[in-house]
Symmetry: C2
Subunit: 162 residues, 2 copies
């Protein structure tokens, strides 16, 4: 019995999530929510090649030069929360969940971001964490200025391609 607990414990202790927070200058979270819940909005900050159905139970396909990811929309709470499940794409992503929780803090709409369910803190996970920060800055820019930096015009953090 102790062995199985220990194994579970070690698995648990290794588990890590990607967390981020950005503040978007806006009178309410509504425009941020639009950018997270519509195909046009998503194409404005993550990847220009965004297709599919963005309603609950729909699947959105996000395509990049290096591959794609399919997200099933699990929850949509207008102005408050968006939750996706990665159902196809990079092996390490499949089965992970991505959430965006919104709230208003004075003149800023705050986005609390979580990409959870990673099985191992691999080097790819480190990379994705930094890229998510860059894309969330792109989301902020989109809502504040009308112009984001979605792929293929994204900020590269590793080399000239990624």
């Amino acid at each position: 019995m102790r062995v199985s607990w220990q194994a579970t414990l070690e698995g648990g202790a290794r588990m890590v999530d990607i967390l981020h927070k950005v503040g978007v200058e806006a009178p309410s979270p509504d425009r941020v929510y639009d950018a997270l819940s519509t195909i046009d909005g998503l194409a404005g900050w993550w990847t220009t090649d965004t297709r599919g159905r963005s309603s609950v139970d729909g699947v959105i396909k996000f395509t990049f030069d290096s591959g794609f990811v399919d997200m099933k929309v699990l929850e949509l709470q207008p102005g408050k929360r968006v939750l996706w499940l990665a159902v196809d794409g990079p092996e390490e992503w499949v089965g992970t969940k991505i959430s965006f929780d919104l709230k208003q803090d004075g003149d800023y709409a705050t986005v609390l971001f979580k990409h959870q369910g990673w099985r191992e803190p691999t080097e790819f996970m480190h990379h994705c964490s930094t890229k998510w920060a860059a894309f969330l800055m792109s989301l902020k820019s989109l809502v504040e200025t009308g112009k984001g930096a979605p792929h293929p015009n994204d900020i590269h953090v590793i080399n000239s391609k990624h």
Copy 2:
């Protein structure tokens, strides 16, 4: 016995680290290492107000408008690794460790960053994760172009001050 294992397990499962990875265009990790292991280097990408002793067992004080953090240097492996322990500053940081592991990938010096030992995935931790990404981009810029974006000229991710 089972209760105590369970408690430990839950603590373990909740534990999260901040992870990032950046690639810096450079023929070797040497200049990245300099930017992580000297007072002048650190002042070029994290905060201009960086003082103290950057050798092993020394304490470096990093000061920002909003406060400061004191880092004890635990490890210095030239061209390979820098490890700090936060010994004073924000309560949530004290006792956490920050590591930078360097390696060469072709034309890029890769930095694997980890800020570990957070007790809870608080909102402040989400904020610090995004800010670390911005500061690591500043480190990349410093080595590649000679100009970083240290505090007080850092990229704001939350509002006009943070």
